[in-house]
């Protein structure tokens, strides 16, 4: 879980230009980091590539905050293992 969180934090920092220290589990991408549609696509595509998972359409609304992204990737990784 921590690895997932750290991995996502690094991606979000890279795409948004924010410092990693600024990004907590409570961070909302659009509201707190000015993530717009182009950056949201970049974050999602980078997450898919890094964790080798596929974010489906129905999961998209649940990848707009750090907590949601971490929970989603953790779940997708578990499903992949099972």
């Amino acid at each position: 879980m921590e690895d997932v969180e750290q991995g996502i934090r690094a991606i979000v920092a890279e795409v948004s230009g924010a410092d990693e220290q600024e990004i907590t589990i409570e961070t909302k991408f659009a509201e707190d980091l000015e993530v717009d549609s182009i950056k949201a696509i970049e974050i999602t595509v980078a997450i898919e590539k890094k964790f080798k998972v596929s974010v489906r359409d129905e999961d998209v609304p649940n990848i707009m905050t750090m907590r949601q992204a971490v929970e989603l990737v953790t779940r997708l990784l578990k499903q992949k293992k099972a």
């Binding site: 182009i38 595509v45 609304p61």
Partner: protein
Amino acid sequence: MGNTESNTYDVIVIGAGISGLICGCYLSKAGKKVLIIEQHDRPGGYFTSFRRKGFLFDAAAHSFGNYREGGHVRKILTDLGVPELARIKRCNPSDMVIAPECIVTYWNDVPSTIAGLSNIFPHEEKNIVNFFKFISSAGISDFVKLKDKTFDFLLRQFFIDSRLRSVLALPVFGNGGLPPSRLQAFSGIKIFSEFIVDGGYYTEGGIQALPNALANIVKHNGGAIVYKKRVEKIIIQNGAVTGVELTNREKLHGRIVVSACDMRQTYTMLFGDHVVDDEVTKQLNTMTPSLSTFILYMGLREPFKETPKAGVNSWYLTDWDLDATYSRVERCDFSDVGAFMFRVSPDQKTALAFIGAPYYSRSFWKENKRKTADEFFARIEHSIPGLREQVAYIEAASPATLERYTLNYQGAAFGWAKSPSQMSAIMACKSSRLQGLLFTGHWTSIGFGLPGTCYSGYETARRILKKEITR
């Protein structure tokens, strides 16, 4: 020569295209000592104008979009004070698609455009309304869902009639270099909503007025721009950028270097033997640049008062099948080209026409430029009878010409080809692993044209200033 105050800067920007200029404007406005280095003799990149035989031609870009109230481009240009230095006007209509059985007109007033389309395609009226509603209100989730989809996929969600899909997609193809079946959906929507629905803006007196205004703002803020100087390499010491060396061996120092030029060139040439990131270099070698263009510049004997109306981007569609058109372009078969754009300048003194064209090689274009120009002109004349009698002077630019003047790899008109399969690679290689080196411009983004490069230049400056504050 060592570091002196005169050759040391806070930020050195390579390339005075729109993104480099916008970035330089914001940084100099924030008090940074900025130097922009440009190899051409004027600013603008693809937004330049040139004079021949008394005619003033826009070299490539001739109008732009996204200048509506609330648009990013308006926000950025207004923020920087451009409207005080350059007069920005808008053509109405901005675009027309001239197809075999119909003419679609893009009016500044969107409901009129929707009404016109619904009149031609009454069986799709509801879908047309829904499509325009979607592109104007799509939110972050909608765009993310389309991350791996094509623009054709999106159009098929709304429309049954393939002819309607083609007339909607043609200007997007022309402004993005890929047919809808190969273009990433996000890029397609952005071109449609920002270039076509909110398009047709131009600077009075030629497009050069726009980069000239930006260059003046950089200088007004205490920044410097040098022309006809080319960066030979980016100097790297202990994993950090320390400046650049010019082809005349002159060294300029700066903690931050922004490469606003061709990304492939940055990696393969500007780093010299210094292997910065082997993985990225390998990746770049496998990536496909966007299509280039073949352009005809025509000086007119008399003010052009016929159809198409001056200032309107007129897109001629002769084959409904845009994939077939793209295949012909890839094969460099211009004898019966399926689509092209023709625009008479707002002052009615010149005309510009372009078609997509592959690069092949410099020698190919040296041999085939004249022949292609003749074939292309004959093709245009077929659609606009009597044009030949009105043309006093004609000049052409091939992909090799565009490469020579702008140094964009293979004369690519839009950075990397924005296909879904290249999305992740475009994003992965846009950040440098080197301290102090940033990339900006159309090679770094899935955005396009002026809206894309304005956004990119602004974002790069914002990043630099944010890091500087938190240093």
